[in-house]
Amino acid sequence: MMEVQDQESLGRWDRLGSRDLSTRLEAMEIISQEVTRKVEAIGPLTSSPPATGTVLSSDLNDILAHLLMLSKRCPFEDVRERCIQLLQEVQDLGVRIPRPLGNGPSRFIPEKEILQVSKVDSRTQSIFEDAFAALGRLDNISLVMGFHPQYLESFLRTQHYLLQMDGPLPLHYRHYIGIMAAARHQCSYLVNLHVNDFLQVGGDAKWLNGLGEAPQKLQQLGELNKILAHRPWLITKEHMEALLKAEEHSWSLAELIHAVVLLTHYHSLASFTFGCGITPEIHCDGGHTFRPPSLSQYCVCDIANGNGHANLHDDQLGDQDMCGEVEVLMERMKQLQECRDDEEASQEEMATRFEREKTESMLVVTSEDEECVPSRDISRHFEDPSYGYKDFSRRGEHVPTFRAQDYSWEDHGYSLVNRLYPDVGQMLDEKFQMAYNLTYNTMATHKDVDTSMLRRAIWNYIHCMFGIRYDDYDYGEINQLLDRSFKIYIKTMVCSPEKTTKRMYESFWRQFQHSEKVHVNLLLMEARMQAELLYALRAITRYMT
């Protein structure tokens, strides 16, 4: 019986995504009837709810939370209005209604800076509607990415294809792999999101108790997940072989590619989530509260990361110090562009520069002081929680150099992915290019700036951290263009994203706009994904030859 109800409840939200106004209104009507029915079933709230009542009321609360989310996030105005109205009605009946926690989709970016669902241009609106129709929600990630609608479109298309379209893996596997990958970085936001999706596509709730409860086949993926997330250069063809030749639990090549793409996608998306301080979805745990607002103003995570109101005045202070930061950066870029031909560094020098940058990147200190213990809730999705990037950096382990010219995404990675998982290669290719080439020719307040040099420096710096070297790049440029606080941010976000704090976010590029910082985040995310993919695909190629 419960299952049937669940099915119904899922169906009821689905139809709100329709583009047809009357269908939406109809669906809204059904929902409002159901809410009324449920409210009546609970009866007067004054009496303490009996045991059976708690099930009912938690069910109602879920619906109310969902309504709250819709009232804020639904791209259709009619649904938003109706939801607000309905919540008001329920409140008038004496039922406690939820209110959103936190301020908007991101903790780092003031809500007023982020696009309001109600005030977007027609293109973004259409992208939002598509996303809403596909998932029944418009998540905070999409809202933040809404700064860059071109990219968002490509991102959502790829993600939709990976999760919902034809592919070798069953749907619930895909979400589970997403959970595994996000959990590796203790990204509770993504985990919560996909736990819901996982259950929605018929996944076995038992698996959520931990990787040990999942099928053997998925358990075997744990090792790859771990290495890929933290030290992708250690992946060898033996790892792939272990997965591909495990008799009854073995993966097919196509499945493995699908899994690898999903893992890398969610590792890097976790980086983005932390890097932009994405707050929990309103309808998920931690996104709303039924408590009256008089209590704590902080989100739990805010406290854990040391983000209170304390650094409100930081901005003013910083502005004075960093005045002219943008101009200095632009001047350097100009110099580099001009001086390039004069100063001809020897080849040895170039190699040393790469090595130096690589080694230094290891030494960039991420906030080591606080030992972040993953909450038990999330750590159950992966094994060996202590395995992280920092282990290796402390020991000063050497990262072998990966020559980009010998195994590049364009020539090799693409061909392999597209061969085994058709169309995805193309989509990823477009997404990488979109991220790499995206520019508005602006820097902070300056217009008509060629930012390609800066973008390339960021991209190559991230690949450099993973040991990927481009022969045709002078790594001295990185030192000129990326200052220390920016490097710390990049390093933290890419290697241990869970440690990203609001302070870090604020302390780099102070004069830049939030949209530009999100742009940087997109670059970081895609560069990281490509780096991980390259290592994994190279191992698969080696296995195949």
């Binding site: 583009r19 047809d20 027609s122 259409s126 509607e129 598509d130 379209m165 034809d166 069953p170 390039r340 001809e344 020897s346 080849q347 040895e348 170039m350 190699a351 020559r403 010219q405 010998d406 364009e410 020539d411 090799h412 693409y414 061909s415 392999l416 061969r419 193309q426 290719d429 481009y470 022969d471 045709d472 190629t541 195949m544 030859t545």
Partner: protein, 788 residues
């Protein structure tokens, strides 16, 4: 086999000879190039830069150009080219963006001549002009091509492609034109004397064009290879570049090189996954003309050893080997190709194509009597003297099964009338039994009835329900008449089975015997198929069934013998058996006959009984009835039997109707296979609704997800014919509502029907109503609309 004498005549200078041979390199090669007299080859890679002389029996390392304590990145070569006029001159493209020339005539150990560091990104390709000694061209990742005069220290001209990185540059053989291929799929044509803009640009591939090569003789033919796994040959002599040939390979194409002296041949190797080198005849794009399979990792460089000798190919690879391939040692895939094809038609026709020689040698075959017809069709390809392919002329033979052209009707009508869901199990069975009976397929009908009896849980099923269904059965007209003389016919059909087995092999879909020429069919099938093993398996199945039934009966005997058997039971069943028109009955017959002869006790649970009183008496017995799961092995055998016979419809229908009761008994792969076959057949008969229902009802995840694919519907605006972006019913461009009903002038949201003549239309209902009163188009365009 090629003749060596031709080689010698073709060569201008000394004769080339040798054998297939290889040598190990110290490191993976990225590119190779030969000197003009074909005696030496240079191999370049990230960690290797060496010259080998090609001797009769082996490669001999002649010179290592990688010198110095700490070799710089200038040695890390992406490409290398040996000058075809000046034999001491080489050029390399370095991954760090340097273009380096090397002079082998230098007395010092370091042969480096000039260094150009003008490119900012990796240089992918260098190319000497074929006739101008000092002209060198480079193409780089930074999107620029530069032309160097080797007498000067800098480039003389820079060509900007205004697009992404340059993957290949190739001088045309005769003039000052060069072609450049780009990562974004474009190919540009430039005049070396005009650096301001390209002369022509066209999109050759989707995704990067990795390579291009001008035809050595046919001026204006350009071959390009891309990441989209295609090799295309373009005719550049016309105003617009015209694609004249296209070869689809199995992996992205890294290099392409025309074969000397062979106008239509070119060699390719791939960037990833596939390690072989293929030589294609571009007129025969489906099978490579020759294949070299020696390399263990991707081939990175291929070059014909001499520009007038088509029999020697050199190749370098990531597996750190350098090979000389002899054409005579190449694998010829065409020899292994099987020029025979066999295919079933929808109506059970069989088409068979084979080499003509094979068919002709088979002269002693008898012609087909009666209904079976053989239509030999012969196709000849006009021979082209330049082609070196074995000329295969094939004969196509079509066999028709029987004269009765409507013989698949039963399938269609069964598919349409069967009920698979929506009613209680027993009713579904009864309904389907009735359908089968009405289509004169009594064996199938009986099977349904048996299934109902086996699986209707007697403990839970109220007697009324059973009685009800039984009484319904009893009232069917067919059940009323019977005769007792059917034993003979059972035996007869068994013996016919022996002969009929060939027939059932010949045609998996349609099974019809009763023809007088079965023996002929048999003979024919032995010729084509070679074995009738599967038919024997079928016998095995049938026997197994017997055993199962027997054993069950014995267990049951004690109880069931307690009451007397109604004589009617026998006769009814015989009546059902009595229809020897289809071979599907054989199994049934065989399975049944033992009960007829020996085990009478089993009958009550197999046969419908007319008498009410008897049922009520047997009711307590039914409570001790065998659990439904007991029958599962039998049902599984039965389903497999039907599927084997080609009646996959029955197998799938039973699978759906029985649902959980049987699903676990049959492994998922088999189920999926059955579903796929049935859905395929339904779709070929255009029974879309039924096929969709089957997909929906199936429990295999692989099947149900069929319904979730291709769910996007792309529509164009009816006014401006542009694709509609996903914004409701308004077209973005012309700001009009698309798809307006011609009758009511409202937007059609739902079923839209339109006349294919004038493309006006509207709501299905409205148009239907309109057409009742008028034959003209409701839009007033004057067209006499036609709807089918």
């Amino acid at each position: 086999m090629e003749k060596m004498s031709r080689v010698t005549t073709a060569l201008s200078s000394n004769t080339i000879s040798g054998k297939t041979m290889f040598c190990h390199l110290d490191a993976p090669a990225n590119a190779i190039s030969v000197c003009r007299d074909a005696s030496q080859v240079v191999v370049a890679g990230r960690n290797i830069f060496k010259i080998y002389t090609i001797e009769e029996e082996q490669f001999v390392e002649k010179l290592n150009l990688r010198v110095g304590r700490k070799p710089s990145l200038n040695f890390s070569c992406a490409d290398v080219m040996w000058h075809q006029m000046e034999e001491n001159l080489l050029a390399t493209a370095a991954t760090n963006g340097a273009v380096v020339t090397w002079n082998l005539g230098k007395p010092s150990r370091n042969k480096q001549d000039q260094l150009f560091t003008e490119h900012k990104r990796t240089v992918n390709k260098v190319c000497f002009h074929p006739t101008e000694v000092y002209m060198l061209l480079s193409g780089s990742q930074d999107g620029l091509m530069k032309c160097f005069d080797l007498r000067k220290k800098e480039s003389v001209s820079t060509f900007s492609g205004q697009s992404e990185s340059v993957r290949d540059v190739q001088f045309s053989m005769k003039d000052f034109t060069f072609a450049a291929s780009f990562e974004n799929g474009n190919v540009q044509l430039w005049d070396i004397r005009r650096p301001d803009r390209y002369e022509r640009m066209f999109t050759a591939h989707t995704g990067p064009v990795f390579c291009c090569d001008w035809h050595p003789d046919d001026r204006g033919w350009l071959a390009t290879g891309g990441r989209d796994k295609m090799v295309k040959v373009w005719d550049m002599t016309t105003n617009r570049a015209k694609e004249i040939y296209c070869v689809q390979t199995i992996a992205s194409v890294a290099r392409v090189k025309w074969r000397p002296e062979k106008r239509f041949h070119l060699a390719t190797c791939s960037m990833m996954v596939d390690h072989n080198i293929y030589v294609w005849d571009i007129r025969r794009p489906f099978i490579p003309f020759a294949t070299f399979e020696e390399h263990k990792d991707v081939t990175t460089g291929i070059v014909w050893r001499h520009q007038h000798d088509p029999y020697f190919l050199l190749s370098g690879s990531k597996d750190s080997t350098l090979y000389q391939h002899m054409f005579k040692d190449a694998t010829r895939p065409v020899d292994k190709a099987n020029p025979e094809g066999l295919c079933f038609g929808l109506m059970g026709d069989l088409a068979f194509a084979a080499k003509e020689s094979l068919i002709n040698s088979d002269t002693n075959r008898k012609p087909y009597p009666g209904g079976d017809r053989r239509n030999p069709l012969f196709f000849f390809k006009k021979t082209d003297p330049t082609e070196q392919f074995a000329h295969v002329s094939s004969a196509l033979t079509i066999y028709q099964t029987g004269l009765d052209s409507n013989h698949m009707d039963w399938f269609v009508s069964t598919a349409q009338r069967y009920l698979l869901t929506g009613k209680p199990f027993a009713e579904l069975c009864d309904h389907n039994a009735k359908v089968a009976r009405e289509l004169k397929r009594p064996q199938v009908s009986t099977t349904w009835t048996m299934l109902r009896i086996m699986f209707s849980d007697p403990a839970n099923l109220p007697a009324a329900g059973l009685n009800h269904s039984l009484s319904k059965l009893g009232s069917l007209p067919l059940m009323n008449s019977f005769s007792l003389k059917e034993m003979g016919s059972v035996l007869a059909s068994e013996s016919r089975l022996e002969r009929g087995k060939g027939d059932s092999r010949q045609d998996n879909i349609h099974l019809e015997t009763g023809n007088s020429h079965i023996s002929n069919n048999n003979e024919e099938n032995e010729e084509t198929e070679g074995s009738d093993g599967p038919a024997e398996c079928m016998f095995g199945d049938a026997e197994l069934d017997d055993d199962d039934l027997y054993s069950m009966d014995h267990e049951n005997q004690a109880e069931e013998q307690e009451y007397t058997l109604p004589q009617e039971g026998f006769q009814l069943r015989h009546e059902i058996v009595d229809n020897p028109s289809a071979p599907e009955h054989f199994q049934q017959d065989k399975a049944d006959s033992p009960h007829v002869s020996g085990n009478e006790a089993e009958v009550p649970c197999l046969t419908p009984i007319e008498s009410f009183s008897l049922i009520s008496i047997s009711q307590p017995l039914f409570t001790h009835h065998l659990p439904a799961s007991f029958f599962c092995p039998i049902v599984r055998e039965m389903l497999s039997y039907y599927a084997e016979q080609g009646d996959v419809q029955m197998a799938v229908s039973v699978l759906i109707v029985l649902g959980e009761k049987i699903r676990k008994e049959i492994d998922d792969l088999t189920q999926e296979h059955w579903y796929m076959s049935y859905i395929d057949m339904l779709q070929r008969f255009e029974l879309w609704n039924v096929s969709n229902e089957v997909i929906k009802l199936s429990t295999c995840s692989a099947i149900t997800c069929l319904n979730q694919t291709s769910t996007t519907l792309h529509i164009n605006c009816s006014n401006c014919k542009r694709p509609m972006s996903s914004k409701g019913w308004m077209c973005d461009r012309c700001h009009q509502c698309a798809s307006i009903c011609a009758v009511c002038h409202h937007v059609v949201k739902g079923l839209f029907v339109w006349c294919q003549g004038c493309s006006h239309g509207g709501h299905l209902e409205h148009i239907m109503n309109w057409l009742k009163s008028s034959a003209h188009c409701p839009a007033g365009c004057g067209h006499m609309c036609e709807y089918t």
